[in-house]
Every structure is written in structure tokens, then in C-alpha cells.
């Protein structure tokens, strides 16, 4: 019995390690500047993996070696201050080794570079839209109360900065390769989370405030956007696309996006058309 149990624990340990190295499931290749996150994970894996294996092996050794025998008596040793102190220090060091690089990367994550291009990601139940700042590089302010059929993004009409904003009324966003971009995350209903697995970055979108994070796409490609914060029955289906383009393709796409001013004009026209129709 003791041998069986010891072997079982051994197998579980070895199995975990084997699974880790040989299973096909691993993260997608990183496509942004956040390789640092992967590195921290790897570092964490080494440290914690080491601890895991050592402790599990220790347990299975004890189970085998100190199995019950009627004629044996266990050691009686309530305390060993020196050992406990040593273990405390080792653990503290190990933990500090994990924490320090983590905090450095986090500092980068929350400090957006000055020159980052700003894009608004607009979430609703259950889909995505986007807004680009236009030629002035500034996004106009918004207000839920302004949302209407003519003004689906709820831009504040009096804000001059909003006039040239380009509105992307669809779930596909293009980004320029190697240009840092700050996502300004806005939702008009419940919580959502703009998540592209390959970019690693993630942040909830909270109604009533704007949240943000930034990335620099480092690889062209076509990526899927997932909503990573539960937002009701359609949560799992709330997908979008991000396409990272080289300069030329990007310019082409950008030029196709309609500005807010144009949209207002167009909407007015549409309305007139409709009126004319219904008057008949």
C-alpha cells in the first residue's frame, strides 16, 4: 500500500511535468510588445514548478519511507526555529523574485507613451465599434444622452474635436504595424473587456468611465477580438476582428472610414429621403 501511494503521487508529479512540456496547448505567439508578460510567466513557471516538484517528491518519499510500522516510533520534535526562519527567508526571496519583474512590466503597462495613437473601442451588448481621432489627433468627448440614430456614438455635438473623428460602424479594426496605440475603452451598457489573445493586453470596459491600455502591434495579421468580461447571454458571441496592417493597407482602410461630420450630413439626407417616401 505505501508503495502504491508513493508511486501514485510520483506519477502525478511526473505526469504534470510531462503534460506541461509535451501537451500541444500553449499560448499563441505574441503579436505585440508585451512579450515581457510571457517572460514573467516563464520565470514564474520555473520558480513555482521547482517548488511544486520538490514538495511533491518530498511527500511521496515520506509516504514510502515512513510508512506505519508497529515497532517504530515517530520522531518527537515540536519546533525548530532555525529551520522555520530559514524557510521563511527563502520563500520571501522567491516571492520577491517573482514580484519585482512583474511590477516593472506593470509600470510599463499603465504608463502610456506620449506619442501613442488613440483609438476608442466602443462596446455594446453584444458587439464592437471603433472611433479614430481624425486629423487633429484628438477624440471628441461623448455623452450617453447624445446617443441616437443620427449620432450612434453619442458624440457631444458642441465639441469641435469630435467633428473629424472617424467612425467605424462595424466590428473590424485596423491597426498600423509598430505604431503604439492607446485603446480608450468605452461601453454604453454593461461591463465588457477588449481582449485579443495575441496582444496579451486586457482591460474591462466600465460604463460611466473610460478605461485604457496600450500596445504596439509587432506582427501583421488578422486577430480575433473576444469579450473577456461577462456581459449577459451574448457574452460568448461577442467577437470582433483586429487586423494589423503595413502602412499602405492601413492608409487605404483609414481613408474609407467616414467622419462624424459626414455622417451627420448623410443621416440628415437619409432622413429627408425617408420623409419624402412616407409623404407619398
Amino acid at each position: 500500500m505505501p508503495v502504491t501511494v508513493a508511486v501514485a503521487f510520483l506519477l502525478i508529479t511526473v505526469g504534470s511535468v510531462v503534460f506541461h512540456f509535451w501537451s500541444p496547448w500553449w499560448w499563441t505567439e505574441v503579436a505585440s510588445n508585451w512579450g515581457g508578460m510571457d517572460d514573467t510567466i516563464i520565470l514564474t513557471f520555473w520558480i513555482t514548478g521547482f517548488v511544486f516538484v520538490v514538495i511533491c517528491l518530498f511527500v511521496s518519499y515520506c509516504v514510502w519511507k515512513f510508512a506505519y510500522r508497529k515497532d517504530r516510533i515517530a520522531e518527537y520534535k515540536p519546533e525548530d526555529n532555525k529551520l522555520e526562519k530559514r524557510l521563511t527567508w527563502i520563500t520571501t526571496l522567491g516571492v520577491a523574485a517573482l514580484l519585482a519583474p512583474g511590477l516593472v512590466v506593470w509600470n510599463n503597462y499603465v504608463t502610456v507613451p506620449e506619442n501613442a495613437y488613440k483609438v476608442e473601442v466602443f462596446a455594446y451588448q453584444w458587439g464592437w465599434k471603433y472611433r479614430l481621432p481624425g486629423d487633429d489627433g484628438v477624440l471628441g468627448k461623448t455623452d450617453i444622452r447624445y446617443i441616437s440614430d443620427e449620432n450612434p456614438f453619442g458624440l457631444i455635438l458642441e465639441d469641435p474635436n469630435g467633428k473629424d473623428d472617424r467612425l467605424v460602424d462595424g466590428d473590424e479594426l485596423h491597426l498600423l504595424l509598430d505604431r503604439s496605440v492607446k485603446f480608450e475603452l468605452r461601453t454604453i451598457d454593461v461591463l465588457h473587456n477588449f481582449y485579443v489573445p495575441q496582444f496579451r493586453g486586457k482591460m474591462d470596459m466600465v460604463p460611466g468611465i473610460i478605461t485604457y491600455y496600450w500596445i504596439t502591434p509587432t506582427k501583421t495579421g488578422d486577430y480575433e477580438v473576444l469579450c473577456a468580461e461577462y456581459c449577459g447571454s451574448g457574452h460568448y458571441a461577442m467577437r470582433g476582428r483586429v487586423i494589423v496592417d503595413k502602412e499602405q493597407d492601413y492608409k487605404k482602410w483609414e481613408a474609407k472610414q467616414i467622419t462624424f461630420e459626414k455622417m451627420l450630413v448623410q443621416n440628415k439626407k437619409n432622413k429627408n429621403l425617408q420623409l419624402a417616401k412616407s409623404n407619398k
Binding site: 505505501p2 503521487f9 503534460f19 500541444p24 496547448w25 500553449w26 499560448w27 499563441t28 508585451w34 515581457g36 514573467t40 513555482t48 517548488v51 511544486f52 514538495i55 511533491c56 518530498f58 515520506c62 509516504v63 515512513f66 506505519y68 516510533i73 515517530a74 520522531e75 518527537y76 515540536p78 519546533e79 525548530d80 522555520e84 521563511t88 520563500t91 520571501t92 516571492v95 517573482l98 514580484l99 512583474g102 511590477l103 506593470w106 503597462y109 499603465v110 455594446y124 450617453i144 444622452r145 451598457d189 454593461v190 473587456n193 495575441q198 486586457k202 482591460m203 466600465v206 460604463p207 460611466g208 478605461t211 486577430y223 468580461e229 461577462y230 456581459c231 449577459g232 447571454s233 457574452h235
Partner: protein, 609 residues
């Protein structure tokens, strides 16, 4: 938070002040009783004996059975969820139903199963017995506590039958989504959930006050705090945490109820719902998250600390060796408890809160790993040079060490802000918390039931069935959750009704899902073996001896087994030592119960008393 232990307790047995009055030569001296014997409530009708019982042991069993019954519902829900995830083609569930099941599963498991079972169940059963008291301090309030819990459970169950069904907001109940259209059960369902939680908190408060006062004010002669079994320390500290953490939940629930029913805007900003502008304005959803996690993080330790305590005792008894570093263990429990109030926002790294909080909470979160690590070390050092009996409780304890270690280490991933960013809200988190909460403490529950079953029924559980139950549960649940971490790395988000085709998710991930589901179904089936064992052994099991495990702690040393009303017969016990004098050199037996006076074990070289 039990910060009373800021100052080092004296663990030695020199009885200060009072000892001087007794002759120093009298080695069996125990301080005088400080209080008169407890005034017990004696039932005099069928109702007050079997239904509204005021006997803590009986209430404990009532609590445990109710909790397990509810837990089985949670288990069935998890099967349905898993089947949907693995075989979406079957079309078993609608998205709405899936989300309702996830929510109910999570809430039931955390609150109505584990919290109620550990504190209400094991707390009531063990605190008076292990402390050498006759009953809880306030038996009447204790009885009310149980019945409030029953009502809370009934309200919870009622929500399955109201229009719109139970809430599907996720067990975190985040607004605005919890109370707006688009989430299943956003009308009646969520209200009933909130009411049920409020009732639970009220009921728990009544019970919790009992546990605390009983531990602090009602111990047997000689039972200093530093002689209490770690089980009691775990339950006690968890209760303190609960009394200080539940208020935040209560306040959050109340405010959300008002938001939903009266249209206040505590958590509700101006928003559009399903194309319609709502009349809310100016509230802050993040405030709810802070309140929830100010409760929620201590809550996860509320279910962990009793498990820590119980497992320490199981390891020590069945390894025939004292728990290593008892004092350190106590400090660690208390320290973890205290620290758990300073780490809550590690659940909110990517919630859009003030981003600078990340530094503070990452640091505090990783600090809390240090006392936890010490506990792990002390458990395994207890095994070193022990005399390990591979009984069922021991097997479950060993399995606990492995699963808790695994889950705790993945906690370190998540606690480190940066690493949490890609992993948050993926299956990595699901795997983490099931490993550390869904398996580890559940394994301890099983171990504890195998251990204390004879105390309750006077009979042993069947070993063979127990072994089957153990191996399937342990290996099976490890197989469920270990691979799940890797789904998280791939990036599969949690709370997804269906993953369906995605450019980055390989089909093999879906195959993995099927594997997990099958494992879950098998593990679930093994619980039926366990239930069968529990039910049949109560009548047919082998009769147990008086102290079948040769344990030291007081609950095994009552005049009757199972103990009767009032526990101790004529006189409450006197305690002379800690609960861990196993294999003391020079002693005749390999254990010395807590109530054996020094004069009866003259040769024993006892180090810690």
C-alpha cells in the same frame, strides 16, 4: 481579523497568577474554574429535540446535511455545464440556462456548501467538543442561525421557479449587468438571490457570534488558546473573517436591491440597455466590485482556513506525530486572516480601477503567500520521520497537500499583476480556484467526514468503498483541472457558453474539453459511492471503538460515544497539554490525550505543553 495576537502568546504551561495558590509540587494543578457550570437548555418535546434543537452537535449535523444537499444540486449543475461545454452539438442548454447554472453553481458551492459546512457544520460539531465545553454559549441563537440558513436556502431554491428563472449574473453579481435586461433572471431571480444572501449573512452572524464567544470565553479548565487543536483555530479565525467580511456583502446586496427595485443609482451609471436609455445616472459599478471583493477575498479564506486547520489535525493524528511548528501554524492562520483584508483588489487588476492600485495589491498578495507557504512546509515536515498510517483521512490529507500546493502556486501567477493581465478571466482562473477551493478543501471535507463519522454515529465507514471514492475523486479531479490551466494559456475565456471555431483555438482544445467533461462525470459518479457509504454505514457499518484513531483531542474523550447532550457527564474535562503529544519519548503509548494529567505519564519527555 483577530489581531489580538499581535503580541506573542506564552505557550508554556506555567499557570501565572493563580498557580501560586496551589502547591508548586502538585504537577497536576489546573487553574480554578472561572465560571460556574453552563446552564443548559433541556428540550422537552419532539419539536425542540429534533427540529428546533439547541444542541450544538445536532445543529452541526443539521447544517452539514442541508449544506451537502444543496452542494449536490451544485454538483448536478456542474455536470450540465460541462456537458454543454464539451458537446455543444447536443444543444442541451440555452445560453441563458447555462449562465444561470454557472451562477448558481458558483454561489452554491462557495457560500451554501463550503461556508455553511465548515463553519455551521464542523464548527457547531467540533467547537464545544474540542474546547471541552458543554454547548455553545447561546444555544437559542444558534438554533435560530440554522433556521435562518434553511430559509436562505429555500429562497435560493425558490428562484429556480420564478418567472425569468434564477439570476445568471455570475456568482460575482456585477452590476449593471446583474440587474439589466440581457442577463437572465435580471428581475425576480437576482432579487431573490440578494435576499437569500442577506438572510444567509444574518443567520451566519448569529452562529458566528456563538462560535467566537465559545472559543474565547467558554473553554475547559487548562485549555489555553495555545493548546487548542488547529481545527478550532482555523474555524475560529474563519469565523472572525466572516463577521468582518460579510458586512461588505450585505451592504453591496442592499444597495443593489435598491438600485433594482427603487431605481437608485448607487452602482448604475447613465447607460443604454438594449437600445433604450435607462434613467440611472452617475453611479459607479466599480464600487460594487470593491465591496464584493472586500468580502470576496476573505471569503475564499473563510473556506480555506478551516480546511487548513482540519488537515493539520488529520495529518498529525494519522502520522502519529505532532504537527510541526504548532505556534507558527497558529500565527500563520491568524496572519493570513488579517492580511486577507488587504488584498481584495487582486481580483480587479483589469477591472478598470485606479491602475496604480496594482502595485499595492500585487505586493500584499504575494506577501500573503509567505505564511501560506509556511503552512505547506509544516505539513510536509510533519510527515518527515513520522509513522504514517495510510488511512482514508490521511490519504485525503496527502491529496489536499498536492492540490492545494498546485492551486496556491497558480495563485502566485494571478497575484502578480502583470501575469494576471493575459490570464484573468480565462480558464486559468477557473482552474486555479477549483484546484484551491473546489478540490483541496472538498478533499479535506471528505477526510474529515471519514475521520469524525464514528464520533457522530459510533460506526466506521467502509474502507473499500472509501478507497474507491478517494482514488477516483483525487486523480479524477486533478485530471479535470490540471489541463484546464492550459486552456487558459491558449486564451479561452471563462463564462463562455460555447467557444466555437476561432482562428487561434485549435480543435484539440475542444477535444480537451471533452476529456475534462468525461473526467468530471466520473468524479461526480464516485460521489454516489460516498453517499451510499455514508447512508448504509450509519446502520450497518462496523462498530467503532471509543477512540478509533487514538487521537488526543478532547472530542474523543467524552464519557459516551457518540457524546450525549451536555457532552461531558458530571464534570467538564481538565486539560493538561496541547493536542499533539504523539510518539512522545518515554511514554508507554504513542499518544497522550489532552486530559491525561502529567502524573499519569511520569516518564514522558514532553517538550511543549
Amino acid at each position: 481579523m483577530s489581531d489580538e495576537h499581535e503580541h506573542k502568546l506564552e505557550a508554556k504551561s506555567d499557570y501565572t497568577a493563580d498557580a501560586s495558590s496551589v502547591g508548586a509540587s502538585d504537577i497536576d494543578a489546573v487553574p480554578e474554574a472561572e465560571l460556574p457550570d453552563q446552564d443548559l437548555y433541556h428540550s422537552h418535546s419532539w419539536w425542540t429535540t429534533y427540529v428546533f434543537s439547541q444542541d450544538a452537535k445536532y445543529i452541526g449535523i443539521q447544517y452539514a446535511l442541508t449544506a451537502i444537499g444543496t452542494g449536490l444540486l451544485g454538483l448536478v449543475l456542474s455536470w450540465l455545464m460541462r456537458i454543454q461545454l464539451a458537446f455543444p452539438g447536443l444543444g442541451l442548454l440555452e445560453p441563458a440556462a447555462y449562465y444561470q447554472f454557472v451562477t448558481m453553481h458558483g454561489m452554491i458551492m462557495v457560500i451554501y456548501l463550503l461556508t455553511a459546512l465548515f463553519l455551521g457544520g464542523f464548527g457547531n460539531l467540533l467547537i464545544p467538543l474540542m474546547c471541552g465545553s458543554r454547548d455553545m454559549a447561546f444555544p437559542y441563537v444558534n438554533m435560530l442561525s440554522y433556521w435562518a440558513f434553511v430559509v436562505a436556502v429555500l429562497v435560493l431554491l425558490a428562484s429556480f421557479f420564478v418567472p425569468g428563472g434564477p439570476t445568471g449574473a455570475g456568482w460575482t453579481l456585477y452590476p449593471p449587468q446583474a440587474i439589466t435586461a440581457g442577463t437572465p433572471g435580471s428581475n425576480m431571480g437576482i432579487i431573490l438571490m440578494l435576499i437569500s444572501l442577506i438572510l444567509f449573512v444574518a443567520g451566519f452572524t448569529m452562529g458566528g457570534l456563538n462560535y467566537i464567544i465559545t472559543v474565547l470565553q467558554l473553554r475547559a479548565r487548562g485549555m489555553t488558546l495555545m493548546r487548542m487543536p488547529l481545527t478550532i483555530w482555523g474555524i475560529f479565525t474563519a469565523t472572525v473573517l466572516a463577521l468582518l467580511a460579510f458586512p461588505a456583502l450585505l451592504v453591496g446586496c442592499l444597495m443593489m436591491t435598491l438600485d433594482s427595485m427603487l431605481g437608485t443609482s448607487f452602482f448604475m451609471p447613465a447607460m443604454v440597455s438594449m437600445g433604450e436609455k435607462l434613467s440611472y445616472d452617475g453611479g459607479s459599478p466599480i464600487l460594487f466590485q470593491h465591496l464584493f471583493w472586500f468580502f470576496g477575498h476573505p471569503e475564499v479564506y473563510i473556506v480555506a482556513l478551516p480546511a487548513f486547520g482540519i488537515v493539520s489535525d488529520l495529518l498529525s493524528v494519522h502520522a502519529r506525530k505532532n504537527i510541526f511548528g504548532y505556534r507558527m501554524m497558529v500565527w500563520a492562520i491568524v496572519g493570513i486572516g488579517a492580511l486577507s483584508f488587504f488584498v481584495w483588489a487582486h481580483h480587479m487588476y483589469v477591472s478598470g480601477m485606479n491602475p496604480w492600485f496594482g502595485f499595492f495589491f500585487a505586493t500584499t498578495t504575494l506577501i500573503i503567500a509567505v505564511p501560506t507557504a509556511l503552512k505547506v512546509y509544516n505539513w510536509i515536515i510533519t510527515l518527515w520521520r513520522a509513522n504514517i498510517q495510510l488511512t482514508l483521512p490521511m490519504l485525503f490529507s496527502l491529496a489536499f497537500i498536492v492540490t492545494f500546493l498546485n492551486g496556491g502556486l497558480t495563485g502566485l501567477f494571478l497575484g502578480n499583476v502583470t501575469v494576471d493581465v493575459p490570464l484573468s478571466d480565462t480558464y486559468f482562473v477557473v482552474a486555479h480556484f477549483h484546484m484551491v477551493m473546489g478540490i483541496a478543501p472538498i478533499l479535506v471535507v471528505f477526510g474529515a467526514i471519514y475521520h469524525w463519522y464514528p464520533l457522530i454515529t459510533g460506526r466506521m465507514l467502509n474502507e473499500t468503498l472509501g478507497k474507491i471514492h478517494f482514488w477516483v475523486t483525487f486523480v479524477g479531479s486533478y485530471a479535470i483541472y490540471f489541463p484546464m490551466h492550459y486552456q487558459g494559456f491558449v486564451g479561452v475565456p471563462r463564462r463562455y457558453f460555447e467557444i466555437y471555431e476561432s482562428p487561434y483555438i485549435e480543435t484539440s482544445t475542444l477535444v480537451l474539453n471533452q476529456f475534462i467533461t468525461i473526467a468530471a462525470l466520473i468524479v461526480g459518479a464516485a460521489q454516489l459511492v460516498f453517499l451510499y457509504n455514508i447512508i448504509t454505514s450509519a446502520r450497518l457499518g462496523k462498530k467503532s471503538e471509543k477512540n478509533p484513531w487514538k487521537a488526543n483531542s478532547l472530542e474523543w474523550h467524552t464519557p459516551q460515544m457518540p457524546p450525549e447532550h451536555g457532552n461531558w457527564g458530571k464534570e467538564t474535562p481538565k486539560v493538561y497539554r496541547w493536542a499533539y503529544d504523539y510518539s512522545v519519548p518515554g511514554a508507554k503509548e504513542d499518544y497522550i490525550p489532552q486530559n491525561v494529567p502529567p502524573s499519569e505519564v511520569i516518564g514522558a519527555k514532553v517538550e511543549k505543553t
